[in-house]
Each structure stands twice: as structure tokens, then as C-alpha cells.
Symmetry: C2
Subunit: 244 residues, 2 copies
DNA sequence: CGCGTTCTTGACTGCTTTCAAAGATGGTGG
DNA sequence: CCACCATCTTTGAAAGCAGTCAAGAACGCG
């Protein structure tokens, strides 16, 4: 029972995010909780998915940070996006899908299979939750493209940290303006299309202005509203009634 | 009858691309051909979809180039991706979806509604074709992120033109190494995260090396294989059996 | 306490932007 | 057929942002 409690405790943020995306009935909530017992842990730096290889099925990230990444022959790397607790990995609708990119565990990551939505419940419940989650992911991807294409280093860092804050918050993992942040500056650089050295200088600049406070696995955004207006940050809205 | 022929002729490239993505039975081919008669033309520079507004339903681009774009308050713009003949716009699974970005007509664009796949035919026919098309779009988006994050101006232009060639080719709109290319260098700059001036200099560099030949609405890639190896270009593979 | 990883700093280089203006090009109307 | 205009392309010079290389400091872990 104690073990069971620990299990559900560690998956609580993930379920919280999913439940907030739509209206799940009891049997769907149960299906979700049930799925979390078939969890699988991927150790830090290990691959969760490899580009070009078959995808087994959709998963939910229960805890940890995962990153979708492209590696170049010369060692350059680009992180296409991250997956946080409560977010989905490996959704695909075609037959015998192949992974469009590699996904690796930035920290230890706990996953569980995403339960299939009940047939005939399109537009409601789990199916709707997954659809909204995918739409949000689409939005994050667009935002990332705009960041890389048109923002300065300082704005990229600011805008991206704001997004991370929102997404961690959706899982209840942010406390006010602060949230756990396990990435090294080198990994941030891979996400933001910069070099590690330049991320460092940029972070220091923002720190000097008191806009961010990045230390030992946690970020704090003391002047979050000022940061938001600086980069014209906008919350995603993907459906007329959904909360983002 | 002559008018009818003209209609089907202009939508032929679009249907060709879609048909190549999966196995469509007669009734599905008929549904597609049928849908093209409900076409709608959007004049150059007009909006096809506006960010934050409700999406009516999925459409097929029958002809012309459309671009998904984010505009910043100060006039900067970033093109997230383009939609070519045979490609889909406005696919969304959630209820009452809102457009995640604006889409505008780079040239005159002809659209038609995408017919609904038959119920119970998931994994086959139209449903599969749409799924594969979405997976390809996902791939193009990842490729775009990697381009913007890690490639030099010259590699961005090269890699992107190679992708455009492949995608035009899928609709049968490429003739050997050449294909129609209606974009100005300014629009290319918005897609590639560069300035118009720098795109110009970059294009001239590639031209001098005989790698590209960009003129009056057409691109030719005389040394396409060399270009491909230069940027390590890879065709997308989204399913084990599908041709990309 | 020692070692590896991560963060920090400096000097220098170079790619890309900015600003401004001059050429091409294509379409239009006289 | 040509003049004219708007749009698009091309060019130059100067400034700036980010990358590179190299080394040292700080941190966390065993």
C-alpha cells in the first residue's frame, strides 16, 4: 500500500496535466491510473526512441525531462522540443510508423503506455485530451521555429523559459515563479540553436538584470510579467473552450 | 466538359501526391475527385486562416503555395512552413479547434475541402493517406527546426530548396532537377530566418558555384546530388512500407 | 579530498544584419 | 512601342551579435 501510494504520487503531476485538458469520466480516469502501473524507467542519457526505428505505441511521460533531438555527423545537435511530465510521446496515426526523430532522456524518465481512448468517444474524454495535447505540442513547435528564426539570444532564452514555466505549471510542478530545471547550459544551447558559451553569457546578462535566477536545478523568474511583456509571450489557445 | 477537364487538370498534381501516399479504393478516389469541384480560390497575399480564429475544416491545397506565418509586433515575420499542391491544411482533432497560426496565400491558391475518411477504415485508404501526410508534415517541421538552429545560411538555402524539390516532385510538379518557384528572396528570408539581403548574397554564392539556378519563377538544381551530400540531405521515412 | 562535469571568462574571428542606394525586371497605360 | 512605376534584386560599407578556442574557477559526487 505504501508502495502503491508512492507510485501514484510520482505520476500525480502527469495525470493532473492530462485531466486539466478535458473532461474525463471515471472509467477513463481509472484507465489512466491503471496505465501508470505499467511504468518503465529510462535512465538518464539513454534513448527512449531512435530515429527511423518502428514506434511501438504512444506513451505518457510520468516524470523527468525527455528531448527530441537531431544529431549531425559532425557532432552538432539540435533539440527539437522537450517532453515534460503529463506530455505525450510517440503519437502516430499511420500504420507501422517510424520514429521521425530520436528522443533521449535528459534526466531519468518514467514512462507508461497511453491508454487507448474508448471507441466511439471521439471529441470527448481521452480522445479529446490527446487531441488537445497534440495541438499544444504543435503550438510549441511553431513557437520554437519562430524563436530560432527571429529572436535574439536573450529573447530566445527568456521566451523559452517562460514556456517551460507554463508547461511545468500545467502539471502542478511550478511553485509560483519557480520550477525544477535539470538542464545544463549546454543542453539549453542545443535547444536554442546557440553555443554553450553564449548561453552562459546570455543567462548572466538576464541574471544581472534580475530577470532570471538559475541555480542548482531550479529556475526562478522573479519579474515574470516583465519578462512576458519583453518577449510578447502568449499562452497557446488551441480550442474555444479549453484552458491551455 | 471542357471546363470539367480544366478543373481536373489543375487538381491533378494534388491528387497525384495524395494517391501516392497510400492505397485508395475507387470510392475514395471518387470522393477526392468529387471534393475538388467544391474548390475555393484565395487571391495572392490573402489570408487562408488567421491565428486564434476557429478552423472550419481540413482542406487540400490544389494549386499554389501557402505559408504558415507568425508576425511580430515590430514587423518581423517567420514562416513556419509552406503547403504545396496535394498537401493538407487545417487538420485538427480536438473539438472547436482554433488556428495555431496564420496561413497566407504566397501565390493565388486553390483549395478544396478534404473528404472525410470512411468510418471504420482507420489504417487504410484516406485515413491512412492523411496520417502519412501529417507524419511527413511533422518531419518537415523537425527539419526546419534543425535548419534554423544549426545550419549556416548557405546550408539553409540548399537544404530547403532540396526539400521543396522533393515535395514538388511528389505532386509531379518537378521536371528533372527543376521546379516552379514563385517566392521572392524576401519570402525565402522569412522562411529561413535570414534577411532578404543575406539570402541574396547566399543565393549568388551558390549560383557562382553552379549549384543552383534561380530565375523568373523557376529553380534548377544542376548538381543536385552534390547539393544533397553537401548538406547530408535525407528523404523522410515515416512508415515501414510507405513511399515518402 | 580528488576528479569529472559544469560554469565562467577573455580575446579574437567571422557570419549576418543594418542602412542606403543603385540596377533589373515586369506589367500598365498612353 | 515606349515611358513609367512598383516590385524585386543587387551592391557597398560599417556595425553587431554570436561562434571559436583556450584556460581557469566552481560545483557536486564518490
Amino acid at each position: 500500500m505504501a508502495a502503491n501510494f508512492a507510485l501514484s504520487a510520482s505520476s500525480q503531476p502527469a495525470l493532473r496535466r492530462l485531466a486539466a485538458l478535458g473532461d474525463l469520466n471515471d472509467s477513463e480516469m481509472h484507465a489512466l491510473r491503471d496505465a501508470t502501473s505499467a511504468r518503465r524507467t529510462v535512465a538518464q542519457y539513454r534513448m527512449i526512441q531512435t530515429e527511423g526505428e518502428p514506434i511501438t505505441g504512444p506513451s505518457i511521460v510520468l516524470s523527468g525531462w525527455a528531448a527530441a533531438i537531431w544529431s549531425f555527423a559532425d557532432g552538432r545537435r539540435q533539440i527539437m522540443g522537450v517532453a515534460l511530465p503529463g506530455e505525450l510521446i510517440g503519437m502516430a496515426r499511420q500504420q507501422r510508423p517510424l520514429a521521425p526523430c530520436s528522443i533521449y532522456a535528459v534526466t531519468d524518465v518514467i514512462l507508461c503506455p497511453a491508454p487507448r481512448p474508448l471507441a466511439g468517444r471521439e471529441g470527448t474524454g481521452l480522445a479529446e485530451v490527446y487531441a488537445v495535447s497534440e495541438a499544444l505540442e504543435q503550438h510549441y513547435q511553431y513557437a520554437h521555429i519562430a524563436r530560432l528564426g527571429r529572436l535574439s539570444a536573450q529573447d530566445r532564452v527568456s521566451d523559452w523559459l517562460l514556456e517551460m514555466h507554463d508547461r511545468m505549471n500545467a502539471a502542478g510542478l511550478a511553485q509560483g515563479n519557480a520550477f525544477p530545471f535539470p538542464l545544463t547550459q549546454e543542453v539549453m544551447a542545443d535547444a536554442l540553436g546557440l553555443t554553450g558559451v553564449h548561453v552562459n553569457r546570455t543567462v548572466q546578462g538576464l541574471r544581472r538584470e534580475g530577470l532570471i535566477d538559475l541555480r542548482k536545478g531550479e529556475v526562478r523568474l522573479p519579474k515574470i510579467e516583465r519578462l512576458r511583456s519583453m518577449v510578447h509571450y502568449q499562452q497557446p489557445r488551441v480550442a474555444e473552450t479549453a484552458r491551455p
